[in-house]
């Protein structure tokens, strides 16, 4: 969340969005290359590789970007196609905030993801949410290139025929 200069927030927001988009694209390409043709349709791997299991947020924000909304629409469509999965949405914050606030902020992010999926037709009884604050970073360097990967909402599947 915080840690950047408020006066430059608009500029930072633009940079963050660009970075987030390009990282997601890189990750997608890498994984597709590794597992070319191996993701069984309807499997959790299919969801992660071909739909995308996560969306990213700008500093101290729970607003879903156009890219994030696009990802979540694809998630909703996929979940409609494979209705046996249950979903746990994880809300996360980066390390550049205080512990208590980041719990609230990550819950706000998880809630935004959950509400968007519901708005796209995913039944609410398939969705649960857990907020991890800054406790579960995936990228561990000490600059924005990692922090923007940690400000995320992750859609984690369980159950389902393919699991």
């Amino acid at each position: 969340m915080s840690g950047l200069f408020p006066s430059k927030s608009l500029l930072n927001l633009a940079v963050v969005l660009l970075v987030a988009v390009s990282l997601a694209a890189c990750a997608g390409r890498a994984k597709q290359a590794d597992v070319a043709g191996q993701a069984v349709p309807g499997s959790q791997q299919d969801f992660v590789v071909n739909v995308g299991d996560r969306v990213f947020f700008s500093v101290d924000s729970s607003v879903l970007s156009a890219t994030s909304q696009d990802t979540l629409r694809k998630q909703a469509a996929w979940l409609a196609q494979y209705p046996s999965y249950q979903v746990m949405i994880e809300g996360h914050a980066d390390e550049r905030g205080t512990r208590e606030y980041n719990l609230g902020l990550s819950a706000r992010r998880g809630d935004a993801v959950k509400n968007y999926l519901i708005s796209q037709g995913v039944p609410s009884n398939r969705l649960k949410m857990i907020a991890y604050g800054k406790e579960r970073p995936v990228a561990v360097c000490d600059n924005e290139s990692c922090w923007n990967q940690n400000r995320r909402g992750v859609t984690v599947l369980s159950g389902g025929a393919g699991s």
Partner: protein, 445 residues
């Protein structure tokens, strides 16, 4: 200037595990050396603490250990400068006799601490000490304590508190403990355990096994309990844990994540945040009636509540104005007023045990700072700043603030640090692994 006015000699100090008896000494007729701890830049008081004398040969080691604990405590406070024992001229053999003051004056010792440790027939230890004003040639105080042998460290802390109080006029902070979160493993796969230790890092004990993620432990002011947040099955929740029995219970029956707990000054209530969708509000739960009261109701994240020591007000943080800022409200939730108006974000406010200040974390210019301000928000002072400092907790005498500092880098992690209220004497608090979320106990004795 804090001049000790209370009579230290007229009462028996009773504590759970150590019993104390005053050593019969004449009252000093006039004020002796004293330390003014309110000044920012003080010269530490030179003090000589020769190894305590052993009542018989077998106590030599524990006698030296106790005096070493006393010496280390006083040194770490930043108010005292223990002198190197190699400079000592007189060897203390009978601490009941006045020392050769001239021998201590010549090495510029202002204060001298002597003592003796004896093993009694019933197996207990008797520890005696006397504090001498070297230049006045007078005893300032003296006491003896009786305890089980494995309690020797506490005796050292209690003696250090007695010396601190006699010389500064204020209660000490040595016979206290710290509860914190022990962190092991890599940054993206940390194991977190609740741990408790003496304020100097000794006697560490782990309270949870690391299976569940645990955060923000806080001491009860009145019982052997802590409150903290734990993940597990289902929603993360606020728990109570009895640190003697290990008994654990969930606080309240809330329909969502609860976090950021803290006890009321009388120990009868716990404040916490309840997450409700994208918002968090502050609730109080009465531990006897189990009744819960909602204290805030805003479309924002209201968290990190902390009572004033008189229990009449609560300081907390909220982003209701757009970014994290600190607010004070009445204990019933009314009359919330923003008090932080400086540049940056303000969070994790904690009311001083003295009531005169509020400590906070501040984020400004990509740095994390620890500071204090008056309860009306005026007279902000920053005590430390850097890449990441967070989560202040007060020593029970309101003189020292402990916090955690995250060290950047691949192998980096959080450490506990402490700094005097003056911003001086910043020191690392030793822990075996990475450590975060410290909370300081009340004075035990």
């Amino acid at each position: 200037m804090m001049r000790p006015t209370r009579k230290l000699f007229g009462w028996l100090r009773r504590i759970a595990a150590v019993s104390a008896v005053l050593l019969a000494v004449p009252m000093p007729a006039w004020a002796l050396i004293e330390i003014d701890i309110t000044q920012g830049n003080i010269e530490p008081l030179p003090v000589a603490i020769p190894d305590f004398v052993a009542g018989s040969g077998s106590e030599a080691e524990v006698a030296a250990n106790i005096s070493n604990v006393v010496e280390a405590n006083l040194e770490r406070s930043g108010l005292f400068r223990p002198l190197n024992e190699q400079a000592f001229i007189q060897t203390i053999t009978n601490p009941d006799l006045p020392p050769q003051f001239a021998d201590w004056r010549v090495i510029n010792a202002q204060a001298l601490v002597t003592g003796r440790v004896t093993r009694l027939g019933d197996g207990r230890l008797k520890a005696e000490f006397r504090l001498w004003d070297v230049f006045a040639g007078q005893q300032m105080t003296g006491q003896q304590y009786f305890t089980a042998p494995d309690n020797w460290r506490r005796v050292g802390h209690i003696i250090a508190d007695a010396i601190y109080e006699r010389l500064t006029g204020e209660k000490g902070h040595f016979d206290t403990r710290i509860v914190f979160v022990d962190e092991t493993g890599t940054k993206d796969s940390r194991t977190k355990r609740l741990a408790i230790m003496d304020q100097d890092g000794a006697n560490i004990r782990y309270l949870t096994n690391g299976r569940d993620l645990v955060l923000t432990p806080r001491f009860s002011p009145s019982s052997q309990e802590i409150t903290y947040m734990s993940y597990g099955s289902g929603e993360p929740r606020v728990f109570l844990l009895n640190i003697e029995t290990g008994q654990r219970e969930i606080v309240g029956n809330f329909p969502g994540m609860t976090y950021s707990p803290r006890f009321s000054p009388d120990g009868q209530r716990v404040l916490m945040s309840l997450q409700q969708g994208g918002n968090a509000n502050i609730y109080a739960m009465d531990l006897r009636s189990r009744r819960t009261t909602r204290l805030t109701n805003s479309p924002s994240i209201d968290t990190a509540p902390s009572y004033s020591p008189d229990g009449r007000q609560i300081v907390f943080e909220s982003d209701r104005g757009g970014t994290q800022q600190v607010y004070v409200m009445d204990a019933n939730g009314g009359n919330a007023q923003r008090i932080s108006f400086g540049e940056g974000r303000y969070s994790t406010p904690v009311w001083s045990p003295r009531g005169d200040l509020i400590a906070f974390t501040k984020q400004l210019g990509g740095k994390f700072l620890i500071g204090v301000m008056k309860p009306d928000g005026s007279r902000e002072r920053i005590l430390t700043e850097g890449f990441h400092n967070e989560g202040p907790t007060w020593s029970p005498n309101g003189r020292i603030i402990m916090f955690f500092r995250d060290v950047p880098g691949a192998g980096g992690g959080p450490q506990l640090w402490a700094v005097n209220l003056t911003g001086r004497n910043e020191r690392r608090v030793p822990t075996p692994s990475f450590a975060s979320d410290p909370a300081w106990s009340p004075l035990l004795n």
